[in-house]
């Protein structure tokens, strides 16, 4: 991809993602406050975050893989359950994955 095409692609992608952010904020509240829609909207971030966890942990490029990331996620889950501060959870997870890879697994 040439430099010009790359710049054009960046601006097109920015226009779409930024436009989406604005669109969401300016959709009338009534569209989402109906009893049918409200429970769905409330769960959207739960579903997307769970999807992101799955993708970040198991996606090995068009196949599911179990590697150091899974072990790191288990450590993170235990830490969260023990109410460890967020930043420590992140460090523990990164450290677990880094250590396992240093030892030659995942």
């Amino acid at each position: 991809m040439s430099d010009t095409v790359l710049w054009l692609a960046i601006f097109a992608a920015v226009a779409i993602t930024l436009g989406t952010k604005f669109l969401g904020h300016f959709i009338p509240e009534s569209w989402v406050s109906s009893p049918k829609i409200a429970p769905i909207v409330a769960l959207v971030s739960v579903a997307l975050l769970a999807g992101l966890v799955a993708q970040q942990t198991l996606d090995g490029g068009h196949r599911l893989v179990i590697d150091a990331r899974v072990a790191a996620l288990v450590v993170a889950a235990v830490a969260l359950w023990r109410r460890v501060p967020f930043i420590v959870v992140i460090i523990l997870a990164a450290g677990t994955a880094a250590l396992l890879r240093y030892l030659g697994w995942g």
Partner: protein
């Protein structure tokens, strides 16, 4: 001062602390974005343009991932755009929740991302929700951009971000954001279904689609929850 006000003042430092922790954690992942973007063949200004203007991590990662893998401009644009759809959905939720006016309402969409939405919606009052939204939104923006720059400069020196476990750090960050929202059985069922949908889609669909597919879990479980609540209300009325 009323008791509610006292509770809020007491809670404010905790909300700010949470927002800053998330900002730093997400920012640290910005180092790997900067490094990966340079490795994918983007220039320093192009890398910074993504972090400053697109400012939504997974869309940015998807964009440089596809460019780096030799994918076309169209697929890079489409995938980052699809991944950005959830920010629009967050906006639908956040707009009424924050109820902002004037220039704050105009700039709020740019800061509507996973982290600011998560911190904000975890709070119990409108003031604390606004506090969490701005501290997390602007906090992540500053950390993300500064550390994207650092990562881009460090580039090759950092080498493979996997050696530092930065990919696992991202997974843990999303889990940490999800965790406080799993209080209800409904939310747990939704998260479980979302993971199953994502896992089914990962082998067969382009990057970004599994996460969007996972959003269907909200439609299925949310729709089921709405019907169930309605039935319970009807039954209660019958007993009166």
């Amino acid at each position: 001062m009323c008791p509610t006000q006292l509770t809020q003042d007491k809670d404010r430092p905790a909300v700010i602390r949470q927002a800053l922790s998330i900002s730093l954690a997400t920012g640290l992942y910005g180092i790997s974005f900067g490094a990966l973007s340079i490795a994918a063949g983007l220039s320093l200004p192009q890398t910074m343009a993504l972090s400053l203007l697109m400012f939504t991590g997974s869309s940015q990662f998807a964009f440089v991932g596809i460019v780096g893998a030799g994918g076309g401009a169209a697929s890079a644009i489409a995938t980052s755009g699809l991944l950005g759809v959830r920010n629009g959905l967050y906006g639908v939720q956040m707009g009424p929740l924050l109820a902002l006016q004037g220039w704050k309402r105009v700039i709020a969409p740019h800061f509507t991302i996973d982290e600011s939405t998560a911190v904000s919606t975890a709070q119990t009052t409108k003031d604390l929700r606004r506090l969490g939204f701005w501290w997390a939104g602007i906090g992540v923006f500053v950390c993300w951009n500064v550390l994207t720059f650092v990562g881009a400069l460090a580039g090759n020196a950092i080498g493979d971000p996997k050696i530092w476990g930065l990919d696992a750090a991202a997974a843990a960050a999303f889990l940490g954001l999800l965790w406080p929202r799993l209080a209800s059985r409904t939310a747990q069922a939704c998260a479980a279904l979302a993971v199953v949908i994502a896992c089914i889609l990962i082998p067969f669909t382009p990057a970004g689609i599994p996460v969007l597919g996972a959003a269907c879990a909200a439609v299925v479980i949310g729709g089921w929850d709405a019907r169930r609540t309605k039935t319970e209300v009807t039954q209660e009325n019958a007993y009166e």
